[in-house]
């Protein structure tokens, strides 16, 4: 049999968790026992998450025979034998397991720069990276570019920091280059503390060499010889793959002394952080590397002047660095033209919530929110209607439908009361209570506040207490105004970005969904019927046929009624767990 067989198995964190390793070894076993030759890749996490709808449940597998790719979803080890027999041996793909159209839509509407290698090459093999053009950019930078030239390219590419604040990367590097010092540092921020965010992790796991190459180029551009990649310890796979990549680079002479045969040395280390959200903040991160508590420090000096150990430091986000090699190779114009006037290139977002296709997506800056939600995301799940898009992670804001045509970039999102942040996007539909949503995010930021400054430490707690009061039906007149005052106060007076942005969820929902707050406070009602203390369950007697399912299900014995006659819920006893609501097949139970 003379076939060129390649098998790619999703083995990112999620893939591994759902049995990727076992699937992989099942394929290996079948192939070797059949005496075949095949290239087997472990795919990176990007695809795993990129098609969450498919492989978040199970493992995604590409089988490529003579260049023809078939993608399977939901693959378990015991399914491997059939694929092997029917597809690989006999040439008949197992059609019922092949991914559907949505999968392709999801991918085709994207523009992949940072994620282009993810899922395509083996992240644990430097040669795979080199085979797709890896380290050419770094070699070019070392062979034929001066630091100033590199900085110029990055500047004119319009690349802006992907860690959230959107600071122009080229300008940051230029500062780093200009300051003179015996020691300078390059730091990659891979803390990624936003709950539910995984774009940086995907890149570190799926294309670690791109990040390292970006850092090497930065080292050359700024004249630094020491670098750190700060990764949270909760990302063991990222740590492992980055470490492998660093080791391979050292062997290849891309890191260490005399890299690329020059007399330039660059020493790169991984620092594992303890995983506090605030450690993603640049100054807190540097304190953490210094062995101190990860607590933001006032920016008397720019990091480019006095950063880590008081030495000039250029700190960028994972995605920022991963863009660099492409910019160097394809040119600043190419990158700039991908985006808008104000921001060049693409941005990775994690799309989640009530959309059909959830997962990691990469789009050019300037696409509209509508495109993202309805084209790539496939629209709202179920027959519900869109209510708001929450962007920017826990300290972002909620954007209502009227702004769906906003073109995504740093400024436009800020204008509508949200932020780009690290790129989280959560779609909310009519079943989401905006007060409750705001409370949810504030709970997170309050718990993660480093506690250093008064407004963030105590102020967010007081806001949270007011929100708790409102959602439990104890809201008072004046609470909305108090929330607004506190929100603006905290935004204006906090020391670091965490505090300054923490009120965003509250302030933006107050701006667009004030009536929901008012209903909670005045009418003691939650319009989306989410806030437990404000809803009552009752039985629609016209529909109820007295089957008794609810009565049997109720853990509190709150349902009264004889069989075959309409039941009734005793509000005094009901604990509002919603069990009956789910148990009723006839939709006879309502919550209001």
């Amino acid at each position: 049999m003379n076939k060129d067989i390649a098998i790619k198995v999703c083995a990112g964190t999620g893939g591994v968790a759902s049995g990727g390793e076992e699937v992989l070894s099942a394929f290996r076993n079948s192939i070797s026992s059949a005496g075949l030759e095949a290239t087997i890749y472990e795919k990176c996490s990007a695809h795993r998450v990129g098609c969450r709808g498919f492989c978040a449940k199970d493992v995604l597998v590409d089988v490529i025979i003579n260049g023809e790719k078939t993608t399977y979803k939901h693959i378990k080890p015991d399914m491997v034998a059939r694929i092997f027999d029917e597809h690989i041996m006999k040439g008949n793909p197992v059609t019922e397991w092949i991914v559907g159209e949505a999968y392709f839509n999801f991918h085709n509407k994207q523009t992949k720069v940072v994620l282009s290698h993810c899922g395509e090459i083996d992240p644990e093999d430097i040669n795979a990276y080199i085979a797709v053009g890896g380290y050419k950019a770094a070699k070019k930078a070392f062979a034929s570019m001066s630091p100033e030239e590199i900085v110029d390219v990055v500047k004119s590419s319009n690349l802006r920091g992907r860690g959230g604040a959107g600071f122009p990367t080229g300008i940051k590097w230029e500062l780093g280059l200009r300051i003179e010092s015996d020691i300078k540092y390059v730091i990659c921020n891979g803390d990624e503390g936003d709950p539910g965010a995984f774009m940086d992790r995907s890149v570190m796991e799926g294309d670690p060499h791109a990040v390292i190459e970006g850092m090497i180029i930065c080292a050359k551009a700024t004249g630094s010889h020491h670098g750190y990649i700060y990764v949270r310890a909760e990302y063991p796979l990222a740590v492992k793959r980055l470490q492998m990549a660093i080791d391979q680079c050292k062997q290849s002479g891309f890191l260490g002394n005399n890299i690329f045969g020059t007399d330039f040395g660059f020493d790169l280390k991984i620092f594992q952080g303890a995983g506090a959200f605030v450690c993603g903040e640049a100054t807190a991160l540097m304190r953490s590397i210094e062995g101190k508590r990860g607590m933001p420090t006032p920016k008397l000096w720019r990091s480019a002047e006095k950063g880590l150990w008081d030495k000039p430091t250029v700190l960028n986000n994972v995605e920022t660095f991963a863009n660099i090699p492409r910019i160097i190779m394809n040119g600043a114009n190419w990158y700039r033209n991908l985006g808008t006037d104000r921001s060049g290139g693409t941005k990775v977002f994690s799309l989640s919530g009530k959309v059909k296709n959830t997962g990691l997506i990469e789009v050019p800056l300037g696409v509209t929110l509508r495109d993202i939600i309805f084209d790539i995301g496939g629209g709202i799940e179920g027959e519900k209607s869109f209510k708001a898009l929450q962007t920017g992670g826990p300290s972002g804001g909620c954007i209502p439908a009227e702004f769906l045509d906003t073109e995504v970039d740093y400024e436009s999102l800020a204008q509508v009361g949200s932020i780009m942040g690290s790129g989280g996007m959560v779609v909310l539909d009519e079943t989401s209570c905006m007060v409750n949503t705001a409370k949810f995010f504030l709970e997170f930021t309050q718990a993660e506040s480093c506690g250093k400054c008064t407004p963030c430490r105590i102020g967010t707690k007081r806001m949270l207490e007011i929100l708790e009061r409102i959602t439990s039906g104890n809201g008072k007149e004046g609470d909305i105004e108090l929330l607004e005052e506190l929100g603006h106060h905290i935004r204006a007076t906090s020391l670091c970005g965490l505090g300054m942005t923490a009120p965003n969820p509250v302030l933006s929902t107050l701006r667009y969904f004030r009536n929901e707050y008012e209903s909670h406070i005045r009418d003691k009602k939650c319009p989306a019927a989410v806030c437990k203390d404000l809803i009552t369950y009752s039985v629609l007697e016209e529909i109820c046929n007295g089957c008794g399912a609810c009565k049997r299900a109720c853990p509190a014995d709150a349902v009264r009624g004889k069989r075959k006659s309409p039941h009734r819920i005793d509000p005094e006893i009901c604990i509002k767990c919603g069990t009956c609501f789910d148990a009723c097949k006839f939709k006879a139970i309502i919550k209001i």
Binding site: Q446, A447, E448, S449, G451, P455, K461, L486, H489
Partner: protein
């Protein structure tokens, strides 16, 4: 040097001075709770906010360098409102027991609350609770009064070089404690106590000794040769506390002995009457505890006498020795714990009165 304008007044300060430094130079008051001139900038309390022309938002003056041509406003209705709200927030997480607080009257927070007239608090809510672990004999820690200004942490690390305490936990639960929330076990210099702006850290031995109407006496430490300046707080003939001012040769820093080692002054063991031996000399029983001598030896071997009796007796004995054996058979050992004046007198007495140069002191040990 840079020149800037604060509240319309021009001031020139050294480069790398903060706006706060510049304002202080003009004697313009800006409230602060976490700033300390000897410690690294912190920027935590957010009370020192000021407006700079051209800046979109107020900034903390303690962590902003003064720049040429800056125009600064330190007080405006909106700034005062921000400060007031911040104070209200701090006070919403602070016990209201100024009545019994050791620092009442000497507390920066209380003073600011007074100036801003904060009586009601719109933000009443959950407060931090601490389990007290407080067996050390020096530092009383009532951490629910802590405002997390971090001065204690910084002084312990940056000045003392010990690092016995740090911030722990996050959010409202943030607190300052030794590792694993154990009891304090350190050099007990009390530097943290000296900088704490509130009643969170106080000296244990100060408790209930008096907060007002005490006299402050400036003097010098009786222990090592550093010559640290002490301020003795005196209430009715009792030293109730020792502190030190920032503008002294020791910059206000003290060690455990200087700050907390004053109890001997009022020790019941103090000799209070001249004593004359009544029984033959025994040896010295070194196994007896160091601080029991007055009661055990005093009565059995000595009797209390008047000064005149004691001095007459000494004069007789010294004259006798001098006459019998010559001046050089008498010696005097003076003390490094006595004053210059006393030492001068002592050697003068030995030299001019006894007539010998047999005078020395303990420099050698």
């Amino acid at each position: 040097m840079v020149t800037l304008k604060i509240d319309g007044k021009k001031v020139t300060v050294r480069k790398l001075s903060t706006v706060l430094d510049a304002a202080r130079k003009l004697d313009i008051p800006i409230p602060t709770l976490c700033h300390h001139p000897e410690l690294s900038p912190f920027g935590g309390c957010r009370l020192c906010l000021i407006e700079i022309k051209g800046y979109p938002k107020p900034v903390a003056s303690c962590t902003t360098f003064a720049k040429e041509g800056m125009e600064i406003i330190t007080a405006s209705p909106s700034l005062e409102k921000l400060r007031r709200t911040t104070l209200e927030l701090i006070l919403s997480d602070h016990p209201k027991d100024c009545m019994v607080c050791e620092r009442a009257g000497d507390c920066k927070l209380q003073e600011l609350a007074y100036f801003y007239g904060i009586r009601e608090n719109r933000f009443e809510g959950e407060r931090r609770i601490y389990t007290k672990k407080d067996n050390n004999p020096f530092v009383a820690r009532e951490m629910e009064k802590c405002i997390l200004c971090g001065q204690c942490v910084r002084i312990c690390d940056e000045i003392q070089g010990v690092g016995a305490i740090d911030f722990a936990y996050r959010g409202l639960k943030t607190k300052i404690c030794p590792p694993f929330e154990k009891d304090l076990d350190c050099e007990f210099c009390g530097q943290c106590v000296s900088v704490c702006p509130t009643g969170a850290l106080t000296g244990k031995m100060w408790a209930h000794k008096g907060r007002q109407n005490f006299k402050e006496v400036e003097t010098v430490c009786p222990y090592c040769g550093c010559g640290c300046n002490l301020t003795l707080h005196v209430w009715r003939n009792e030293v109730i506390r020792v502190s030190s001012k920032e503008d002294t040769i020791n910059e206000g820093w003290l060690c455990a002995k200087g700050r907390f080692g004053y109890g001997f002054i009022h020790s019941p063991d103090r000799l209070a009457k001249p004593l004359i031996r009544t029984a033959p000399k025994e040896g010295v029983d070194l196994n007896k505890p160091q601080n029991s001598s007055r009661f055990t030896i005093h009565d059995s071997q000595f009797k209390e006498v008047s000064w005149d009796e004691a001095l007459d007796y000494i004069a007789v004995k010294l004259k006798e020795t001098k006459e019998k054996y010559g001046s050089d058979a008498v010696g005097g050992l003076s003390s490094a714990r006595c004053t210059n004046e006393e030492n001068y007198l002592f050697q003068k007495f030995i030299r001019a009165v006894i007539g010998t140069n047999n005078v020395d002191h303990c420099a050698r040990y």
